[in-house]
């Protein structure tokens, strides 16, 4: 860890838990974890939207108090909130005698390509999609190449301002300054943490199957190819079971978290005959839940969720045959059943389950797929803050997005390797 490492705080308001991760991040994005706290909760955040402010504030505040020193700058994972991305296009004609592309051409085209948003929308981040020279997709660094026309396509990710502001409301209440709270869209953080450069060059799809939402991101050699989320998560599987078997959600959740659903799945796959699962509620007669019914109810929901995500990706003009690497993360990724259904939906492609890795320090409890987004946010924090020109002493209300400021950032090695 270099001596220039700075302390940042990452916070996640999940549907099944709240988490705070504090760490030092150096100029190479290496993370030394100083503290990690997580608290299970329910009915505070539903489908990525904060519903119970008081409880959220109380829980996050308690975790920060327990951690102690946590730095002034906070990065929060956001999802839901009607967030979606749109591609803007900018172009310049290169009229110089040598027609060589220079940085200012790239900056001018990218500035044009960043979309402005309506008053009720808040821009979260802008990310590179692709660059074209004379109408042809560029596959490498374009600086120095010759062309008469340079076109830059950039994603602008934006969400409903009021719904996003709820995150800031809670964080302001626990002591962070309004201007030092930055939102990062969950799939962007996931990708930053988990997708390697060489995987991206082949085309990589990452799905984060969480409790409240399912996020997806597709990257390729040019940049970000598709991004989005569906406000359906593993809580819907639990809810389906609760409705089907008339058992409270709490009991079904305990059953799943104890790994018993996966045990049933594995035995079923091996052809082992299984007895019905007994369930008795205090005032009611005991009932026996048929294992096949249980697996059917779960698999229908999981299959549908992945199938809808597949359709959403295809609706963004992505041919999944061009994707070489399929990865899954999120709390539900621990399940064999989920992994198997993922492979079924995505035409038997191997599903790589990914989890946070590579950090030092207090790592206990972090290295599970459920923490991918919060870890990714912390990993991005240094580069992100640097691009916005924030130091510990300064305040900023900038939004990351101008093309030239992305050269060390985020997704595409194409941009990272620019000279």
């Amino acid at each position: 860890m270099s001596r220039s490492a700075q302390i940042y705080t990452a916070i996640e308001f999940g549907t099944s838990k709240a988490s705070v991760l504090v760490g030092r991040v150096d100029e190479n994005d290496a993370v030394e974890v100083l503290a990690f706290e997580t608290t299970p909760w329910h009915d505070v955040v539903i489908k990525g939207e904060i519903r119970d402010f008081d409880r959220a504030r109380q829980v996050i505040g308690a975790m920060l108090d327990k951690i102690g020193e946590h730095g002034n700058t906070c990065f929060v994972v956001v999802t839901g909130c009607d967030i979606h991305g749109e591609i803007g296009k900018g172009s310049v004609n290169i009229n110089r005698v040598d027609h060589a592309v220079i940085e200012s051409d790239l900056d001018a085209a990218s500035n044009q390509s960043i979309l402005t948003t309506a008053d009720d929308r808040q821009r979260i981040i802008s990310l590179p999609a692709r660059v074209l020279l004379n109408g042809t997709l560029a596959n490498s660094n374009v600086i120095g190449l010759t062309a008469e026309r340079l076109e830059v396509h950039t994603w602008t990710i934006h969400g409903n301002a009021t719904r996003l502001y709820r995150y800031k409301t809670v964080l302001k209440n626990v002591g962070f300054d309004d201007k030092r709270i930055f939102e990062i869209y969950a799939p962007v953080a996931d990708a930053y943490a988990l997708i390697q450069d060489d995987e991206q060059l082949d085309g990589a799809l990452l799905i984060d199957y969480g409790a409240g939402c399912t996020e997806f991101i597709v990257e390729n050699r040019h940049g970000l190819a598709a991004i989005g989320h569906l406000q359906v998560g593993f809580e819907h599987v639990i809810n389906d079971m609760s409705v089907a078997f008339d058992v409270p959600n709490k009991n079904m959740r305990e059953f799943v978290e104890a790994g018993k659903l996966d045990v049933c799945y594995k035995k079923n796959k091996e052809g082992v005959k299984q007895s019905p699962i007994p369930y008795r509620q205090a005032t009611k007669k005991r009932k026996d839940i048929d294992v096949n019914d249980m697996l059917e109810v779960c698999s229908q929901r999981i299959f549908e969720t992945f199938d809808i995500v597949r359709q959403m990706i295809q609706n963004q003009n992505i041919d999944l045959r061009s994707v070489g690497y399929f990865a899954l993360t999120g709390g539900a990724a621990k399940s064999e059943m989920v992994k198997a259904i993922f492979e079924e939906v995505f035409s038997d492609k191997t599903c790589h389950v990914r989890r946070p890795y590579g950090m030092t320090g207090v790592t206990t409890g972090i290295e599970t797929p459920a923490n991918s987004a919060i870890y990714g946010v912390l990993k991005m924090a240094r580069g992100y803050a640097g691009q916005l020109g924030i130091s510990d002493d300064e305040q900023s209300d900038k939004v990351l997005g101008v093309f030239s400021t992305l050269r060390n950032a985020m997704l595409s090695p194409f941009w990272r390797n620019r000279k």
Binding site: A161, T162, V243, Q300
Partner: protein, 382 residues
């Protein structure tokens, strides 16, 4: 100022109407209030801050609900104490607003509940969005009107903005259309409240209005015709102005009316001759022969009304499906099967997802269990 009757504006459109209302010459002698989640909108309503309520600024950052009716509902509900103290002493609360927005569509239901618990009668005068506004806005407005407002308010006058198409040209710019709708709606509100206040007490008009509109889903148009001066021609001018009134809807609308409420208001010099002339003329010009007609006249004992006559006509079309009596099923001998039927499952059961943000994909509500939507058969565990 009459404190028994108050007007409260809800939402952004309501605040715009309130702004126009306060600007009408002669003003409004009623207690005026406004509630919204957008601080700017409340400021622009023209009311002093003690007459306004900014609902839950910490949730919305004071910039409004951005079309989120659920948030609007919660913000207004949470502001119950402030609303109760503001409407204390009122006998009739006139609620004005534009359905389709987040605060108004979501907030009107808790506002009506609060008024009902406080034994305050309610008359809602609401605008309905233009047909060319988004389908989502239209659906929200219709659902709010049909499922909440019509059931909770004592009287509802819902005026579609499309009525303006009877007088506006096709090439009218959109901003002019909205501005016209706002102005005309505000004039309509003023006219109806003048009718309600006439005599400075609740008169038969509200009871009759209520009888015609309570519990029924309907769309209304409102024509106002005013004229001032002495001598002949005053009544004819007022009738002409009424028939040309932008929110009256023209003959297309009135010919389909199921009920009409017509009122003549005048000052201390209102004569029986003028009243009869106005009533005869309106009979002649209204084309809705089969409508229920309710006619009334009232004198306002205020010198500022001397020489003035105001005619107002609310024309009501009931929703055909909601208004029809339920069909009587023919009696048929039932076949009794040998095996008993399986118990019916509530197909709308969403469990813990009920009441959360709706998630739809290709027309399917994803919060409903997948196995139910796909009709996968499992044993009955109830």
């Amino acid at each position: 100022m009459t404190s028994e009757i108050a007007i409260i504006a809800i939402g952004g459109a309501g605040c715009k109407f309130m702004k126009e209302l306060t600007a009408i010459p002669g003003g409004c002698n009623l207690k005026l209030m406004a509630i919204d989640t957008d601080a700017k909108s409340l400021f622009e309503s023209g009311l002093p801050s003690e007459s306004t309520i900014l609902a839950m600024p910490e949730w919305t950052n004071s910039i409004g609900c951005c079309g989120d009716a659920q948030l609007g509902n919660r913000c207004i509900f949470k502001s119950g104490d402030a609303i109760r103290s503001m409407i204390r002493g009122c006998q009739l609360l006139v609620i004005i607003g534009g359905l389709g927005g987040g605060t108004s569509s979501g907030g009107i239901s808790p506002l009506l509940d609060i008024a009902k618990k406080a034994n305050v009668q309610t008359c809602c005068i609401l605008s309905m969005p233009f047909t060319h506004e988004s389908a989502k806005v239209k659906r929200l407005a219709d659902n709010t009107l049909n499922q909440n407002v019509a059931k909770k308010a004592d009287a509802v006058i819902a005026m579609p903005n499309d009525l303006l198409f009877s007088v506006m040209k096709k090439d009218t710019p959109l901003d002019v259309a909205f501005e016209t709708a706002t102005k005309e709606f505000s004039r309509s509100v003023w006219a109806i409240t003048e009718v309600l206040v006439a005599g400075n007490q609740l008169n038969a008009d509200f009871r009759n209005l209520r009888a015609m509109l309570n519990g029924r889903i309907s769309r209304c148009s409102l024509g106002i015709g005013m004229a001032t001066g002495d001598g002949p021609g005053k009544v004819e001018t007022a009738v002409e102005n009424l028939l040309k009134s932008p929110m009256f809807g023209g003959p297309d609308w009135t010919s389909r009316s199921d009920a009409v409420i017509f009122t003549v208001l005048g000052g201390p010099d209102l004569s029986i001759g003028d009243t009869k002339l106005a009533l005869d003329m309106i009979d002649k010009f209204l084309t809705c022969r089969n409508a229920d007609m309710l006619k009334g006249a009232a004198m306002i004992h205020d010198e500022s009304w001397r020489g003035r006559i105001q005619l107002s006509c609310v024309s009501v079309i009931y929703d055909r499906i909601a208004s029809m009596p339920p069909p009587v099923a023919p009696t048929v001998e039932r076949y009794v099967p040998i095996q008993p039927d399986l118990p019916m499952i509530n197909i709308n059961e969403k469990g813990a997802m009920d009441g959360t943000i709706k998630v739809c994909f290709k027309g399917e509500d994803l919060d409903e269990p997948t196995f139910r939507r796909k009709q996968i058969k499992i044993k009955d565990y109830k």
